[in-house]
């Protein structure tokens, strides 16, 4: 099999924003990653099941409807429980309610165990650059 780094992506919770995740899928694939796209309305358990089965290197959580903070709570702990303690966790999108200072938001999600946090309007290239850095690609 290829030595490509493997990602699991999806939109968490009751969020049905289907377009952006497709764009991310293609952007990550084009950047040389092997991507499992779980689509919309993904539960924490689904991310973990997919990551276990595919031996993924990172889980990338998207959220656009403002409830991301509630949806993401406990994901890191569940990963630890499932034996995925090394896995990289990213989150991005409109992940909180309303307009809040990004550094505060970032701090809260990092405390929840996310390795990187991306605000609204982040171009895919920025995430790809971070992934390559964190996963030691190239």
């Amino acid at each position: 099999m290829s030595d490509k780094k493997k990602l699991v992506i999806g939109v968490i919770g009751a969020d049905v924003h289907a377009v952006g995740i497709q764009i991310l899928y293609h952007a990550f694939e084009d950047a040389g990653f092997e991507v499992t796209n779980l689509g919309v309305m993904v539960s924490q358990e689904e991310y973990i099941a997919a990551a276990v089965e595919t031996a993924a290197d990172a889980i990338i959580v998207s959220s656009l409807y403002g409830h991301g903070e509630l949806d993401c709570r406990g994901l890191r702990e569940k990963c630890d429980e499932a034996g995925l303690s090394e896995i990289l966790l990213y989150v991005g999108g409109n992940i909180v309610v309303g307009k809040q200072p990004f550094d505060e938001v970032e701090g809260r999600f990092k405390k929840m165990g996310f390795d990187r946090v991306f605000g609204p309007g982040t171009p895919p290239e920025e995430t790809i650059k971070a992934l390559k850095e964190d996963l030691h690609v190239e």
Partner: protein
Amino acid sequence: MKPILMIDFGSTYTKVTAVDLEGARLLGTASSYTTVQTDINDGLNNALNLLSQKIGQLQYEKRYACSSAAGGLKMVSCGLVPELTAEAARQASLGAGAKVLRVYSYQLTEDDAEEIQQLAPDIFLLTGGTDGGNKENIIENAKILAGIPLDFPIVVAGNRTAARTCERILTEAGKQVHVCENVMPKFNQLNILPAQAVIREIFLDRIIKAKGLSQASQLISGIMMPTPAAVLAAMELLSRGTQKQSGLGQLIAVDVGGATTDIYSMSEGEPQRVNTVVKGLPEPYAKRTVEGDIGMRYSASGIAEAAGMANICRLSGLCEARAEELLSQITQHTDTLPETQELAQLDFALASLAVKTGLMRHAGFVEKAYTPCGETWVQTGKDLSAVDKVIITGGSLIHADRVEEIAACALYDAAEPSSLRPQQAEVLVDTQYILSAMGLLSQYEPDIALTIMKKELTSHGTAK
């Protein structure tokens, strides 16, 4: 005339079905007790004698057979995540016509190894990991299997990166190993046909001999397959048709036996309503499930547990004390026939609830979710609401008095709106009990098998 013979060695009955290939017609059927303990040919010859009394002595050009005698094809499988590769392994085994004794997920423990040894499966299906995905789990499980002092063959159908390692570990331990394509090569992609082909080969080579069926095999020109695999083949042919003849389209089939209830659905099962998000593993077009706890005799108490004693009383019209008394009577004397009025009433209730429970577990379901973007449906499993044919087979159902009412239990029920069962359907009854025979015939003469099924399945109106 060009007569050929199909034989079904069942756990209780050996059934023979004669077909004229030239006229594409059924000549006759007969059955007699299966004699696997002594010589399986005794039961077969008894059935053949009965058949010749009905249709005369014929020279059969070919004899094809299927079997579920001696416990059928017993399988145990394991995968990694329960809803993913472990579920794919279950689907593969069921579709191959196996009786699935147990499905394990994650790492096998020493206790599991002891349990597997006691279960003594005919074949073990080892899976886990997508291609290039997790390989530690399947390798560890291969090591555990290597330590079990039994010689069942092992089919390795997991992460291809780990396949050779597993093969080596198991071969060194003296196991017979068959490596084939992964049951889930990519996440959520079901690929069960290669594993099923290997399972069938092993069944032919090895299981038939081990089960005392080889004495009969010299008489048989070909194709021994597990009976449920034959029924599945018949249903798929009836649904899809051939190049020359159209099939009946989407359908479900129900077979309520003494010990188990088998449900078959031929349908893509795609959502019938808008705004539906589908969750879980994709389902095969030809899907089989088996309810091991639901049956008319051995598992009659399982129906009471699953559907509730109150429902048995309501449908049978019996009081609870009497219904319980009769239930324990029929589970102890499994050859009881519904000869009294009360027993017939009880059998009606049991059959109705077996069909209902079997279909509830087989069909998919929807849940409503309220999202900030509006109302959405989340579907798990197959949506069978547009299926419009129900095939009824199995000894206890095909001669039942109120078969339309029993069949109606397979359908949509306002009390269970989330269960995606057919809205309304034509009821077709396998009166001659020929589906397994037609499944065998479909492997050689699909057009003739389809013609005969269309002719012999009798319509009992439309149920709603």
